[in-house]
């Protein structure tokens, strides 16, 4: 490869008592895709924030084209050609595609003393960069009407227009479906040919193996391994990330018992979750699988009829669902937890009725319950008074599960329970779900990670256009390719 476009040498960064980075060397060349992986808290975010000018390193140097540089702000980094595309994309939904692409550097024309936005040029420039991405929307449409994958392309187009040379993509595929991931990869391949340097952060290790020229594994703020394309497989990365070898655990089916939850949404099949059974919902983005989870929890736009242990019930709100022993882990962690409140308050929230003694809360019983479930799901640190926002993504997800385990719900509904969390936390969450099931509960899981569904579920329902299109049973038809074709991917 050529000389690095950007490099970090011996970079260290502390936040208070926490050492986020401890002497990290990292570089990426023009025309290279360099992946960075690691568990949550390994230092990935800090590294890309330093490269993107958000944080300043305590020690070490950053070199751009071999010259030492100091970014005082993200603005400096962008001016130097380094663009970060964050997970939430930072677009303005109400503005048009063309305006979003031009924002921060609007083309202008002068009319005497007035400076005006040159709308015609803004539109044609937008059109030109979008064409490079094989994406051809009407540039006057507001970004709000686009899908997430399309918005991501707009964010990339915005960076391309600035002639950025270093792209930092933070978990770009976390919310993408298979076809969209393929399109993103072809965009990345093209950018690579155009001599752009790409830094690619992801939790999806199979993607990293597929696309990265090099991969740096961070662990506890240090570089645990660097490997070139073709010299590593997913298991090597996992081993380097957690410092030991991972086992690809496949769940064993248990004999299913009585039906716990039955519902008849539109489609050919009934949704039925039995005792000791994990049922999957597979579907592309927009297939309605996520809405089905919400609706079974009484949180859809209309009340749902379900049968729990044979009794017909009308669920008009989540409170109704909770009352009959259903719990839900929503797809967005910000909806599962009240971020500015403590872990304790969050865990107790759906359990307040159980802990009430003649009108007031039994604090001691609450504390005991919280301590017990925090131990059970292994939330770290074990500090119930910590704000939920201070936990890592994996621990937040465990805290959401803890709310429902504390209540001993019969049925758990889970929407993307392991999206964007690290391998170790993912394995723990899978184990917790299997635990619930082993103790006689049932679980219904929607995930866009088909491999996860294939490993975890006893049965998977394929969802297309809000209808259940097929049922796939273990072991005959439960594998990724079959699932993928069943959902139309």
């Amino acid at each position: 490869m050529t000389r690095p476009a950007i490099s970090a040498e011996g970079v260290g960064k502390r936040f208070g008592a926490t050492v986020a980075l401890d002497g990290v060397d990292f570089d990426v060349a023009l025309g290279e895709i360099h992946a960075v992986v690691g568990e949550n808290g390994a230092g990935k975010s800090t590294l890309i924030r330093i490269l993107g000018g958000v944080h300043r390193p305590d020690r070490g140097v950053i070199r751009l084209d071999g010259k030492e540089c100091h970014f005082a702000s993200p603005r400096d980094a962008i001016a130097a050609g380094i663009v970060t595309i964050p997970q939430d994309l930072r677009l303005v939904p109400a503005l048009s595609i063309a305006e979003n692409i031009a924002l921060g550097d609007l083309p202008v024309r002068r009319l005497g003393p007035l400076t005006m936005v040159d709308r015609a040029r803004m539109r044609s420039e937008a059109h030109a960069v979008l064409a490079q991405l094989d994406f051809d929307p009407d540039p006057d449409r507001p970004v709000a009407v686009l899908s997430f994958a399309e918005r991501q392309l707009v964010a990339i187009a915005k960076a391309l227009r600035r002639r950025s040379r270093v792209f930092i993509l933070d978990e770009p595929t976390a919310a993408l479906e298979k076809r969209e991931i393929e399109r993103l990869f072809s965009v990345l391949a093209r950018m690579k040919r155009q001599c752009t340097a790409v830094i690619y952060i992801s939790h999806r290790l199979d993607e990293v193996v597929a696309i990265a020229d090099r991969c740096t594994v961070l662990r506890d703020g240090r570089v645990a391994a660097v490997a070139a394309r073709g010299t590593f497989a997913v298991n090597d990365l996992v081993g380097a990330m957690i410092g030991r070898l991972a086992q690809g655990a496949v769940a064993f089916s248990l004999p299913a018992g009585e039906p716990l939850l039955e519902a008849q949404p539109e489609g050919v099949a009934t949704v039925c979750v039995r005792e000791r059974e994990v049922v999957g919902l597979a579907g592309l983005l927009g297939s309605g699988a996520d809405r089905m989870i919400r609706s079974l929890f009484g949180a859809g736009s209309d009340p749902t009829m379900v049968a729990t242990r044979g009794d017909k019930r009308r669920l008009a709100s989540p409170a109704d669902a909770i009352a009959v022993g259903i719990g839900m882990v929503p797809g967005e962690r910000a909806l599962g937890l009240i971020m500015n409140q403590s872990v304790r308050d969050n865990i107790l929230l759906p359990n307040l009725d159980v802990l009430t003694r003649i009108g007031w809360l039994d604090r001691d019983a609450g504390d005991r319950l919280v301590a017990e479930v925090m131990e059970l799901v292994d939330i770290r640190p074990r500090r119930p008074d910590l704000k939920a926002s201070a936990l890592s993504g994996g621990n937040q997800q465990k805290a959401i599960l803890a709310k429902w385990l504390a209540r001993r719900v019969a049925v758990l509904l889970l929407d993307e329970p392991t999206q964007g969390i690290d391998v170790a936390a993912k394995a723990q969450i899978h184990a917790l779900i299997r635990d619930v099931v082993a103790r006689g509960g049932g679980a219904l899981i929607h995930s866009s990670d088909l491999g996860e569904l294939a490993r975890l579920c006893d049965r998977v329902l394929a969802v297309r256009q809000g209808r259940i299109a097929a049922t796939l049973e273990r072991p005959a038809s439960l594998d990724e390719p079959t699932l993928s074709s069943a959902i139309g991917g």
Partner: protein, 303 residues
């Protein structure tokens, strides 16, 4: 943090003027704070629940006038009850519109603020309500006399603070108010009936504004249609000075009461120091902004 500010403010004022610590002045501060403290406690419920209420000043005036009118006809107990019920009814109207029709709380309560004030003028004809012989003597005594050496008016917020703090911190209802303000959708998905919770915070706020209106009538010995103007702004400022977040989910009743003391002591200090009343407004406004900015900076650094 608010407590330290209050202590520093009191110490500085005491050093600058020896009149500050006189028993007369301190009593005056307590009595002045008492009515505002009751309103600020109601406002704390609403703000912790993620809302906002501009109508409390008008509601207090309405409650004071209704209480006075009913009292003249049917006795003290009926009057006091009527005043509080009317306040709660205004709060319920606010709450239903905000929680169930999803109208912005700022707009809703701006509307009721103006509307309720109009109703006050309509029912009183713009004149104070005190009847031909004045309000009952026991009621006026409640506005000026003491029990165990402390004004009745000061006992009211003291007792309410104890009871309502229990409600907010030790009952499931209180925890649900915090949860709703901290994240409405997340609270809903945890089984909290968020619409009912939000509506209920406005009922508390209205009922407490009603209590404040009755106290005000006792103190002014009449129902004054113009009473309570700008109370909403002082109350909101006090709650924010007490560390509550206008985003919702954060705030504590006793700290809001400390915020009230800060507002009242500040006004008192500027008076004692003979600061021009026009400048007083400038100073109070600046202090509110500075305090809120300091709080933002502090919480930003903690993250």
């Amino acid at each position: 943090m608010p407590l330290i500010s209050l202590i520093v403010l009191c110490a500085a004022t005491a050093l600058l003027t020896n009149r500050f610590l006189s028993p007369f002045n301190l009593t005056n501060i307590l009595v002045q704070s008492s009515i505002m403290a009751v309103i600020a406690m109601g406002m704390t419920f609403v703000i912790v629940g993620g809302g906002f209420d501009l109508s409390v000043g008008s509601t207090a005036a309405l409650s004071g006038c209704i209480a006075s009118m009913v009292m003249l006809e049917a006795g003290i107990a009926a009057g006091v009850a009527a005043g509080i019920v009317v306040g709660a009814a205004v709060g319920l109207a606010n709450g239903l519109v905000i929680a169930f029709l999803n109208v912005n709380p700022f707009i809703t309560t701006l509307g009721t603020m103006v509307l309720v004030r109009g109703v006050v003028f309509l029912i009183t004809g713009g004149a104070p309500v005190s009847g031909e012989t004045g309000l009952p003597g026991e009621f006026i005594a409640f506005g000026s006399e003491r029990f165990l050496g402390i004004h009745y008016l000061v006992w009211v917020p003291a007792v309410l603070l104890a009871v309502l703090s229990f409600v907010m911190h030790a009952t499931p209802y209180g925890r649900r108010v915090y949860a709703t303000g901290g994240g409405r959708e997340a609270a809903y998905l945890a089984g909290v009936p968020v619409r009912r919770v939000i509506a209920s915070t406005y009922v508390w706020c209205g009922a407490l504004a009603g209590v404040a209106g009755v106290m005000l009538a006792a103190r002014l010995q009449s129902g004054q249609p113009t009473a309570g103007e700008f109370y909403e702004l002082t109350a909101i400022a006090a709650v924010v000075l007490g560390g509550a977040s206008l985003q919702g989910g954060e705030g504590t009743l006793y700290k809001s009461v400390i915020g009230v003391f800060i507002m009242i002591v500040l006004g008192n200090a500027l008076n004692l120091l003979n600061v021009d009343s026009y400048w007083q407004r400038v100073a109070v406004g600046a202090v509110i902004i500075a305090a809120a900015a300091a709080e933002r900076l502090r919480s930003h650094r903690n993250q």
